[in-house]
């Protein structure tokens, strides 16, 4: 019995440690004070107003959306195509290629950032949206690969063979059979790619100019320089978006699981 209580206490405390910080920051988004501390004097939406109407924050949000959309499109197209290519077991160095595709997840962001800055400067792409989108795509692609190869692995190849044997051309098989079946994986890959771009700070620090300041970058520098409850308001939006994204991913996974 004491063992059981100890276990329950430990589990509860750890859950508290994991989740409490995220919950504690939420009410501060609605403070009317200029400092980020409890107790909250009175409730107000002024920091959300600041977020949406102050020039620096509004531009950062717009930039994040532009760069996130670009990254999502590029990473999803490249990653889905490559995942389809990886299905073929006859490809030489299949394992090596797969590892290369996943490696951007492992390499420290600062290391990649230094290299990327040197390279993009050579192309004249620093301080451009394209440069930031390229940098974000490199780190977002692994999530698409993991997600789409997972979905493709769940497809029964006999279904495709059946379509083929009934006279469907390869492109028709792909469009009418493979792609619809892989769609949940593609979608959750796209969502993860967008989330990666939204949260990326380090590469952005290296390759983006003042005109490409993203929301995450803006949060980073405002925590560093002049911390204000606008951070909490931005965090509130992030956490709300995370829960929404989490639901999308869970739903698409359960769609995938149901079909199996």
């Amino acid at each position: 019995m004491p063992m059981k209580i100890a276990k329950a206490t430990f589990a509860t405390l750890t859950i508290l440690f994991l989740v409490a910080p995220l919950i504690a920051i939420l009410p501060l988004a609605f403070t009317s004070s200029v400092i980020l501390t409890y107790p909250i004097p009175s409730w107000s939406l002024r920091w959300f107003e600041e977020l949406f109407f102050a020039d620096a924050w509004r531009r950062a949000i717009v930039n994040s959306l532009i760069i996130g959309t670009g990254t999502t499109l590029l990473a999803t197209v490249l990653g889905t195509a490559a995942s389809l290519g990886l299905r073929n077991r006859l490809i030489f160095f299949r394992g090596t290629i797969r590892t290369l595709f996943l490696l951007p997840m492992v390499v420290p962001a600062v290391v990649l950032g230094v290299g990327m800055q040197v390279l993009l400067a050579g192309f004249g792409l620093t301080n451009s949206y394209l440069g930031v989108i390229i940098a974000h795509t490199v780190v977002a692609v692994p999530f698409v690969i993991v997600s789409v190869t997972g979905a493709l692995a769940g497809i029964d190849e006999r279904v495709e063979l059946a379509a083929q044997s009934l006279g469907a051309a390869p492109i028709t098989v792909f469009r009418r059979v493979t792609l619809p079946l892989a769609m949940p994986g593609v979608l959750s890959g796209a969502v993860l790619a967008f989330a990666t771009s939204l949260d990326e700070v380090v590469l952005t620090l290296f390759v983006a100019g003042p005109n490409q300041r993203t929301l995450a970058r803006q949060m980073f520098s405002s925590i560093r320089e002049n911390i204000s409850p606008a951070i909490a308001a931005a965090a509130f939006l992030f956490i709300a978006a995370t829960i929404a994204i989490g639901l999308v991913v869970v739903l698409s996974r359960s769609m995938l699981a149901k079909r199996r």
Binding site: A81, R87, V111, D199, V201
Partner: protein
Amino acid sequence: MSATSSRTGRSLLLLAPLLLFLVGFFVWPLFSMMSQAVSDPAVLKLLPRSAEVLTGWDRKSPPSMAMQAAMMEDLKAVDDDQALGDMVRRLNSARSGFRTLMGKTTSALADTANPPADLISIDKRWEKPEFWLAIADALSPYTDRNLLAAVDLGRNAAGAIEHLPPDQSVNRVILVRTFWIAALVTFFCAAIGFPYAIIAASLDGWKRDLMLAAVLLPLWTSLLVRTAAWFILLQEKGLINDLLLTLGIVNSPLALIFNRTGVIIAMTHVLLPFMVLPIYSVLITIPKNLMPAAASLGAPPLRAFVRVLLPLSLRGVASGGLLVFISAIGYYITPALIGGPGDQMISSIIAFYATGSANWGMAGALGMVLLVATLLLYSVYARLSSEEPGRR
């Protein structure tokens, strides 16, 4: 046969775009970073004629007329002030005195009304072989000085490798600190994550779901948001200090932020999911009746744990630990925001060299150290997790 080859061709066509993209924007940047670390073109670029003449020099005797003439030719031909500045900085770091010497020399050479006969007539220092030696050593397009300096080594005048003086030896302190912080974070993650995973795996129903959701929610939340949350909690008037003061545990606020404690707490929170999930995924593959079996054979709980559960779950702990350690050594944001100056890890130093002082050579060299450490650890991790039974 032709069907297979056309299928292979199609697969290659699908793979090619991403392959080319990553070779261009992932592999190449890493290589260009590493080449920054070893390339040293600043001097050779401006002194091609001197380089030719200096190959015939015995490195001991005073400079010949040919050497001086070639040097004067080279210096007169320089029309790029920035490149000249780079070269002077490079030479000055090898031997102090070059800044004034070069300034004096170039302005004397620019005076076309009364051209100097030789370099020695401009400044007596050109007589000394030491200065010429520094130039000769800086002429190679490749250098190991950045890589050596990354671990606080350097070459002395004779070319032997030796430790740098203590006032220049900061990198090794930072490397040790990086690994030490990463080790501490890994330890705390294991100390919390292992029992947590065991408890979660032993439960079922909503309790297990709750425990897993508590791990997944922070994992999915923006890193920046989690760091901001800890910033708010740990500050002097933050919730944690409020709580401790109200409970009467402490009399004055604890210093929890801008120091090591804060960094360890925040990083443990951020990386804990990476420890819990691999251990959990190993634990759920262990048959549930093993522990009761050990108990029924007379093993007390502790003995059953040490002899049965621990060895079986060790693989999960090892891969979780490696994952946490690999992520921790490359951390930048959390130490930058929560830590003080004494808690900055190798990533911060790389960022400082790259963006703060534009010293690409040192940024590249330290980046190479971090990259190699990461890739070595990752290859161990990949081997460990590919041997995992029942894994796709």
